[in-house]
Amino acid sequence: MQMDEYYRNNAEFLDRMRHITCFDHVQRVKGFVAEFLSTPQNPEDASSTVRDFVEEMAGMLSDHQLWREDGEDGYAQVSESLEKFLLQRLYNKVFTPLDSTDAEDDNQLYLSTRRLQFITPDHLDIPSRPLNKVAFHLAAEELAKLDSSKFSSPWEKLVCILNSISILSNLLKHYGADEGTGADELLPYIIYTLILLSPKHMYSNLRYVQRFRSESKLRSEAAYYYTQMESAVLFISNADHKSFTISPDDFARGMREGRRSL
């Protein structure tokens, strides 16, 4: 689905919800938001509560006269728009929830990437290519959008991740169409982009997508590239000198300097 289509569907959804025959549905949605915000919930319960409500409400709305003729597509679009509508309102409560380790994990990853600033593409066996630098910066820029307030729905966050990886993948396609470019080549690029960016809320973003992007909608290619990002994050979290092509001494020296600069 394209971005503009996503926003068009959203506008259409909000428009229809203003129709007089949707009054009761709107009240239910408002009631849900109010109750959710006033009830303490652990992250797992919060995720299933929201998902269940989206599913139930999307089912009701797609039976409603305004949506009835849209068929299967209608249901998918309604649930997409509902997901966005609800999570925009619940965002502050469910993003980096208090009773989770998200904030701590975010900080640990941030510190790890800061300490690893001495790592160069060579240390990840990334071949030196003229366009590497540009691609890394563009990919990091895309990934940084995860923290933009403009992109607060799980779908929009997922798109930020996929767009970032897409830039790296296009670079590899440009250079390696002959031998085929697979995960062997792509993963180191993603890892280096993460180190370059030093994101502050990466775990929060990944878990937010995982918790609130319903399973039926996080699959196939999107699920694959989400996993790529998730595994790159895990790699950095657990990194030691054996993770890179570097001598233990050089690694230790780099880490010492990295710590000092923090």
Partner: protein
């Protein structure tokens, strides 16, 4: 007979079942995992891929007599330093292709380790295929076909020597996997999904759901 890249529906109607399967690719870096899949998907040794973000994730359908199998192929980074990340990729996979290079004995050792790990940690019903790739390099072969064959038999694996370069046994390998996969209870049902598409192109996901008629 397998046919490539076709639609899920036959000309004579739409009675076919469509089964979605997640297939993970494992094997040392450089054994030609991505070439093998490129060959399977595009039918050519090298070509540009338009539909997806890159060659790390690809899909391909195989038509069997009464079902259409759609493979979602997950490539993994084969370097040793990424080994511990592999479970994130093979989690939930219904099939795995473990690739080694017949001209490099170390890659066969690595492949056997992958098989062991899959048997221990992946889904118990996973269909595992062992592919001895670069079969065109038989003049400098290091891994005897008999050794690999008997290892595969002992471990209940599908086995073929393949060559992405000379298109040997590539379609056959995936067809054999498709035939061996259970067609009744895989994956989860699908609704029309709206997946974000990176390249801002609309790609329609199959609506039929796994194994729905």
């Amino acid at each position: 007979m397998a046919s490539r890249g076709g639609s899920a529906h036959r000309a004579n109607g739409s009675r076919d079942k469509i089964c979605h399967f997640k297939l993970v690719l494992l094997g040392e870096s450089g054994v030609g995992k991505s070439c093998l899949v490129l060959r399977f998907v595009k039918g050519e040794y090298s070509d540009h891929l338009e539909a997806t973000i890159g060659a790390a994730f690809l899909t391909q359908t195989v038509n069997l007599d009464d079902t259409t199998v759609k493979f979602e192929i997950w490539d993994t980074a084969g370097q040793e330093r990424y080994h511990s990340l592999a479970p994130m990729y093979y989690r939930g996979a219904q099939a795995a292709v473990v690739v080694y290079d017949i001209s490099d004995g170390d890659t066969f050792v690595r492949a056997k380790n992958w098989v062991k790990e899959l048997q221990r940690q992946a889904s118990p019903s996973i269909v595992i295929a062992l592919a001895g790739n670069k079969a065109d390099l038989k003049d400098i072969r290091k891994v005897h076909i008999e050794d690999a064959q008997s290892y595969a038999e002992d471990n209940g694996l599908l086995f073929m020597e393949t060559s992405a370069k000379s298109d040997q046994n590539v379609q056959e390998l995936f067809l054999a996997i498709a035939n061996k996969l259970p067609k009744s209870a895989s994956g989860s049902p699908r609704t029309g999904t709206l997946e974000p598409n990176v390249s801002d192109r609309m790609r329609q996901q199959g609506n039929g759901g796994c194994c729905k008629s």
